[in-house]
């Protein structure tokens, strides 16, 4: 099962590689600006051999992991609270909708002001951006609680905490999982972007240097690294999902087949 999934996934990636090789080779775009896949991969191989890349990647992943964890926990707690405490939703909705569309990049001056080009700035941007992603998912997930199930919980006198734990949380979990997947990518993107814009060390800084040096294949190689990280993160979340959502119709169908 897992193996066939992997097979399909590799086929998809293979097709992408072929496409990326063909487009520049057929002259659809200029090779100098979008090198064929083989060139990108050989540049990547060169990079992988250096310590720099791994150190940069480590820096980025550290900012990513810490930021994501902070944002996720904060958003889940906030979301569940807003979702179950009556009146809180109305009280906060305008503020949430106001703050949500403020781009993290606009916070760059604030971040550099507070933390300078360091992990702190990266974290500020990462947390700010991914927090909303999870929060909205949690809010919708909490709203999806089945009315009969909720009546059941109430009539058996389940306490607020038990209702959260045994009813609200499992119901919201599929939404939260999607939120986690969204936030994981956004956190990673923001980690890289923060490095790109503020210059805190990491993958983004590497990309920035490669860009301003006009080293096109190197830039794309680094982008590929970013993409690969994305695939890895998603695979991990999917694995987690299979464990925690085994009861869910969507996952059930997948496992059964």
């Amino acid at each position: 099962m897992i193996r066939t999934r992997l097979g399909y996934g590799l086929a998809g990636l293979g097709a992408l590689l072929v496409l990326m090789e063909a487009v520049p080779r057929l002259g659809l775009v200029d090779e100098r600006f979008l090198p064929p896949a083989s060139r990108i991969l050989s540049a990547l191989a060169g990079q992988l051999a250096t310590d720099e890349l791994w150190i940069a990647l480590g820096e980025t992943m550290r900012g990513w992991a810490v930021g994501l964890a902070l944002a996720f926990c904060a958003a889940v707690v906030t979301g569940v609270l807003i979702g179950i405490v009556p009146g809180l939703r109305a009280l906060t909705s305008s503020t949430i909708e106001f703050l949500r569309p403020i781009p993290s990049v606009a916070l760059v001056p604030l971040a550099t002001l507070l933390f300078g080009p360091s992990l702190g700035s990266t974290l500020l941007l990462v947390v700010y951006a991914s927090f909303w992603q999870v929060l909205i998912q949690v809010l919708y997930g909490v709203a999806a609680v089945d009315s009969v199930a909720s009546d059941t919980a109430r009539s058996y006198g389940l306490s607020a905490w038990s209702r959260v734990r045994h009813l609200v949380w499992p119901t919201a979990l599929p939404y939260v999982m999607t939120g986690l997947r969204l936030a994981a990518a956004v956190a990673f993107i923001l980690a890289v972007t923060a490095e790109l814009v503020i210059g805190s060390p990491g993958l983004g800084a590497e990309i920035q240097v490669a860009q301003s040096s006009g080293a096109v294949p190197a830039v794309y190689a680094l982008i590929v690294v970013a993409g690969l990280v994305g695939i890895g993160v998603n695979a991990a979340v999917r694995l987690l999902e299979r464990r925690v959502l085994a009861w869910h119709p969507a996952v059930r169908a997948e496992v059964a087949a």
């Binding site: 006198g157 009813l167 979990l173």
Partner: protein
């Protein structure tokens, strides 16, 4: 114990206004078992949900032990008509039954005992570790019943709890409820479509009219308190009561 006075409930939504309950007044004494029958859509479920404090009434009130019911009272168990939706799919059968007990802080040993007993009583001992969606409709319904039974409630509300099980299982479950009721003196409100069942179980049978719902009749069941599937059902008085209720319901439906 349970006083329902001029209860009225209107569902209002844009473009639709349904007076589900016109005006209902009746009492259920402590430790009494009252069955409610009435045509489909007459407001039985609505009544039960108002009594359970899950639905605010539009008029009148419900009192439990003299206190107006505004939310679900403690030590009350409900078996919902939508049994499937009332089980948590992320929990096993055992966990579903156990959850309210944990909430009640029943010690682990006693909890185990209660869960095992109630699952055995509904014939699901072998399926304790299955998830609800792995069970047949009737089995799911029995899980919901087991949950209510294990909870040892003071007030028990049941909404067509045996609709999805076969005749024989139904008889067994009827006796289970009777036993529980007798042993723990549970005040019980029991909604059913099966007239035989209502007469067999109830000390009283409340017949509702079709909507706007009122009480057609509040019938005392003067059968001997000790009931038994074979003998009770073959009593001539049983037949009479049964026929009476049947005619009442037919009248209720005829009205509209």
């Amino acid at each position: 114990m349970l006083e329902i006075s001029s209860l009225n409930k209107v569902y209002e939504s844009p473009g639709r206004r349904v007076e589900a309950i016109g005006s209902i007044t009746f009492d259920v004494g402590a430790g009494e078992l009252v069955c409610v029958v009435g045509p489909s859509g007459c407001g039985k479920t609505t009544l039960l949900r108002c009594v359970a404090g899950l639905l605010p009434a539009s008029g009148g009130e419900v009192r439990l032990d003299g206190v107006p019911v505004t939310g679900p009272p403690p030590r009350m168990a409900v078996v919902f008509q939508e049994y499937g939706r009332s089980l948590f799919p992320w929990m096993t059968v055992r966990q579903n039954v156990e959850l309210p007990l944990k909430e009640k802080r029943v010690p682990a040993g006693r909890r185990r005992e209660l869960v095992d007993d109630s699952l055995r009583a509904v014939g699901l001992s072998d399926d304790a570790d299955a998830h609800p969606w792995q069970l047949s409709g009737g089995m799911q319904q029995r899980v919901a019943i087991a949950r209510a039974v294990a909870y040892e409630p003071q007030v028990l509300l049941m909404d067509e709890p045996f609709a999805a099980v076969d005749a024989q299982t139904r008889a067994d479950l009827e006796d289970l409820i009777l036993r529980l009721w007798r042993e723990l003196e549970v005040t019980t409100l029991f909604v059913t479509h099966d007239i035989d069942e209502a007469v067999y179980l109830g000390q009283r049978v409340v017949v509702l009219s079709s909507s706007p719902t009122t009480i057609m009749e509040d019938l005392k069941i003067d059968l001997p308190p000790e009931r038994d599937q074979l003998t009770t059902r073959s009593l001539p008085r049983f037949g009479e009561l049964r026929g009476h209720v049947y005619r009442q319901i037919q009248a209720a439906r005829g009205e509209r």
